[in-house]
């Protein structure tokens, strides 16, 4: 496709976003990284605003506890701030931050498990205060309270099962299904090959399928 054809298509608005979105994102990210390296606090605040939700969500899904997830997310951002000088932009900013978050959550979980061997994810989830849980306390416009209760229970069972599968499978599944990362991004985040990503996701789904068979 020639440049003229591209320009014509862009004018029609049919492919403009598709073609230009990535470079624009990259350019914006590069600009942000430059400002971060210059210790620009406003740039860091932009980064926190942009990533706090996914980072917290990731930590919450990996740890299964709201307080632990909050601590892990905060620690992640502090590590990002301290490590900005070491960031060489060889990987994407997002995958770099996710990698720090995963490592932080995993480290925290090791300690957490030692401290709370007898607690299970289900207990932790009851302290999770997900939006769904809060919303379900109010009457829903679309679903009956009974349906909402069933949905909530299914979600709880699913998360309990997710908390029981092997850690490395859980991380891969959370990144893929909940955080919606591509296989390539997961590979970059976890510093593993695409083949390993495929294998972990496949094994994770299989293990989870066996555990939640009654919910399917």
């Amino acid at each position: 496709m020639s440049a003229q054809d591209m320009a014509a298509l862009e004018q029609t608005g049919l492919v403009g976003i598709e073609v230009d979105a990535r470079p624009l994102e990259d350019r914006a990210e590069l600009g942000l990284i430059t400002r971060l390296r210059a210790a620009d606090l406003r740039a860091f605040e932009e980064l926190v605003t942009h990533f706090e939700r996914p980072v917290y969500s990731l930590c919450f899904r990996l740890l299964g506890d709201a307080e632990e997830a909050r601590d892990a997310a905060q620690e992640t951002f502090l590590k990002v701030y301290k490590g900005m000088g070491k960031f060489r932009a060889e990987s994407g900013l997002k995958t770099w931050i996710y990698r720090i978050a995963v490592n932080q959550a995993m480290n925290q979980q090791r300690w957490w498990r030692r401290r709370h061997r007898d607690e299970t994810v289900s207990l932790d989830l009851s302290r999770g205060e997900s939006e769904a849980t809060l919303a379900n306390r109010l009457p829903s416009l679309t679903a009956s309270p009974e349906q909402e209760a069933i949905k909530r229970e299914r979600e709880r069972s699913l998360m309990r099962a997710l908390g029981q599968i092997k850690q490395e499978y859980r991380v891969a599944l959370v990144l893929r299904e909940i955080e919606e990362l591509s296989y390539e991004e997961i590979a970059e985040t976890l510093a593993i090959s695409i083949g390993t990503v495929k294998s972990r996701i496949a094994r994770g789904r299989e293990e989870l399928r066996r555990r939640v068979k009654d919910l399917i």
Binding site: L41, V48, E52, S57, A66, E129
Partner: protein, 250 residues
């Protein structure tokens, strides 16, 4: 390719990670295998269930806490301890963790040791002694049951009687004896050597606990005395050690 292999590839098929040929072969297999069809449907269902999980409620304090901490760092107002930990963690986080663990262990060990105090001396009640008693030649000779020196006056020599050192093993021994239940009484003739050691010559009154004699011998071997002196020079003397205790408890 059998059903087992097809099941293994189900996840990649669901995620469209198979190349065109593989995907076509896979689809052809699914069209004729109800078992694999059902399996793929279940894997897809698991994937959908995970995707449908509601996002957690984001705590507002994350933003505030992070920015506050970073603001402090930027302003250089980080506490010295935090800076040191940061620096150490840059060097080697594992070593820092081990070091911190060792430090905490050492502190706990030290605290435990500090709690182990020696049994307090109970003052003159237990082992009374009179420091710095001087005596005449006559006293010395009478005390030690030896004939007087010929040609010397009564005070030609300055004698000092032997003393029990106040932090000695004998003090501990008397404390141990005091803590035993019941009455306890013993008397022993002891030779105090110039180097401060004691030597049990004879038990004048046997204690009720026979182990006490062994304990006494051990205590005497630990130089519990300041020896007697004659004109400033340590000399050998004999003393009678008395232990008397009356239990008034109960």
């Amino acid at each position: 390719m059998g059903c087992k292999e097809f099941k293994w590839s189900a996840s990649s098929f669901v995620d469209r990670r198979l190349d065109a040929d593989e995907a076509a072969r896979y689809q052809a297999h699914l069209d004729m295998c109800a078992d694999c069809r059902s399996y793929v449907a279940e894997i897809r269902q698991v994937s959908l269930m995970l995707k449908g999980i509601e996002p957690p409620h984001l705590p507002e304090e994350i933003h505030t806490n992070v920015m506050a901490a970073v603001g402090l760092r930027a302003a250089g107002e980080v506490k010295l301890g935090v800076r040191v930990i940061d620096l150490l963690q840059k060097l080697n986080p594992s070593l820092v963790s081990y070091g911190a663990g060792a430090l905490v262990s050492a502190m706990l060990f030290g605290t435990t040791l500090a709690g182990l105090k020696p049994i307090p001396a109970m003052g003159n009640m237990v082992a009374a002694y009179t420091p710095g008693i001087t005596a005449s030649d006559v006293d010395y000779h009478l005390y030690n049951n030896i004939p007087p020196d010929s040609g010397l006056g009564e005070f030609d020599h300055a004698y000092e009687l032997p003393r029990v050192v106040d932090t000695s093993s004998l003090i501990s021994l008397s404390n141990v004896a005091y803590q035993k239940p019941g009455n306890e009484g013993a008397a022993a003739l002891v030779e105090v050597l110039p180097d401060g050691r004691g030597k049990l010559v004879e038990m004048l009154e046997e204690p009720s606990d026979p182990n006490f004699i062994d304990e006494l011998k051990w205590s005497l071997s630990k130089r519990p005395f300041q020896p007697a002196t004659r004109s400033g020079q340590p000399v050998q003397t004999r003393i009678v050690l008395l232990l008397q205790k009356i239990d008034v408890s109960g």
